[in-house]
Amino acid sequence: MIAEIFIAILLGCIVGTFTGLTPGVHINLVSLLILTFSVFLLKFTSPLLIAIFIISMSITHTFTDFIPSCFLGAPESDNVLSALPGHRLLLEGKGYEAVFLTVVGSLLGLILTIISIPLMIPFLKFIFPIVKPYIGHFLIIIAALLIIRERKIWALILFLLSGVFGLAVFSLHMKDPLFPMLSGLFGISMLLLSYKQNTKIPPQIKSEIKIEKSELRKATFSSVVVGSIASFFPGLGPSQAAIIAIELVRKLETKGFLILVGSLNTVNMVVSLVTLYVIDKARNGSIVIMSQILEVLTKDYLILFLGVALVAGSIATVITLKTTDLFAKIMPKVNYRLLCLCIMAFVTLLAFILSGFLGLFVLLIGTSIGMIPQLKNIGKSHLMGCLLLPTILYFIL
């Protein structure tokens, strides 16, 4: 039994690395495949081992998925002010540092979340029902702060435009609406500008990374608190949590921001297990699928899964750092324009496979809207209106 558990963890880490490194291949897709073939798989294994595999894969994915987003989408230095901090560091030759910081966030977020679970359970049981009716109003304040901080009319226009776009996409009832929408807004738009501006990746330097203790504390604690609270509510994912955390924790510098972003996904994954145990609801796709296979999550299972998450997180840390080292060596030698073309073609093909012609249409519109922040030199976070506006309406209507 114990040997089987560790084999399931290792297999989960391998598949999680693959899904994290391949743009567009999500853990939900793999989990869904496992559910489809579960009758066949259960001839050779048990529901518990499949659940352990899914958890290990999901945790590993949250560590490795920053590598492609950092190394495969850097904009030209002219637009560097509005670029995501990971890309900015990549263009300064500090791609390794960018990924390292997200790994620090993921690992510390994982450990802190597990430590805070005894506090989380009473909150979830008693305070959650009291707070729930006001979450929509709270999100309106957050969105207003996000727009006011930029002090540009384009921030408001962009937020509303992407919000209406998000509402329209969700009303289409298409398959996998998030992939073409987010790939257009954040992926293809950036790659297209990089291609046009002939971006070159400089040689990557690996030096000692200094993180101020106050910055580390601020980033990890806020990500655990906001990430946990956001994971309790339907419709609030790590992306919305990132916006809330950034607004709440002002003056967070690039390093702190990367630690925070790295932590949120992992926190969401672990807290999903807790919500499944306490209120029998998982807020994360792969954990929902895992619960369908496992049927019942007992206290013993929860503790076992937290142990699995710790082991998988530790393995994922080593895998991610070693892979990043490799990427940092290879990337400056690669023809980046050709790579941009290949990734754009791959993402377009995936959008078509996942969502058909409607997916291609959404990808096109998303790309157009996604280019506005760089052209107008404003923050890309306003594009999150595509998720935030539908979420606000979900809560207040």
Partner: protein, 116 residues
């Protein structure tokens, strides 16, 4: 913070994780038991038994079988998700939840392994 510091944190968290896994896995592992030792106090618990099939019936949605070992016999139910090649006298191992129907204990099988 450098790679080594992070690797040290990794090592400690991995060791804590392995400790949790070892403790809990030992607790939740379904130990095989003799059919005669299964009683109402195990109701709704996961059980694992091994024996030979003395009766086998196929209904539109279920497989129903009786299995017997040296200590007793029990009825096993399995949903017909797929065809299984069990005949009378097959030796099988069953893992599943213990339930009660018409005052008789029976096992709702999660996993059936055909041994012979």
């Amino acid at each position: 913070m450098d790679d080594n510091t992070l690797y040290k944190i990794c090592l400690i968290s991995a060791l804590i994780g392995i400790f949790l896994i070892l403790v809990i896995a030992n607790k939740i592992e379904i130990k095989g038991s003799d059919i005669g030792n299964i009683s109402e106090k195990n109701l709704n618990e996961k059980v694992k038994v091994k024996g030979y099939v003395t009766f086998f019936k196929e209904t539109p949605g279920l497989y129903i079988m009786d299995i017997k070992d040296n200590t007793g016999n029990i009825t096993v139910l399995a949903f017909k998700d797929e065809k299984i090649n069990i005949t009378k006298n097959s030796i099988i191992e069953v893992e599943g939840s213990l339930t009660k129907y018409d005052n008789e204990l029976e096992i709702n099988a999660d996993i059936i392994r055909i041994l012979e």
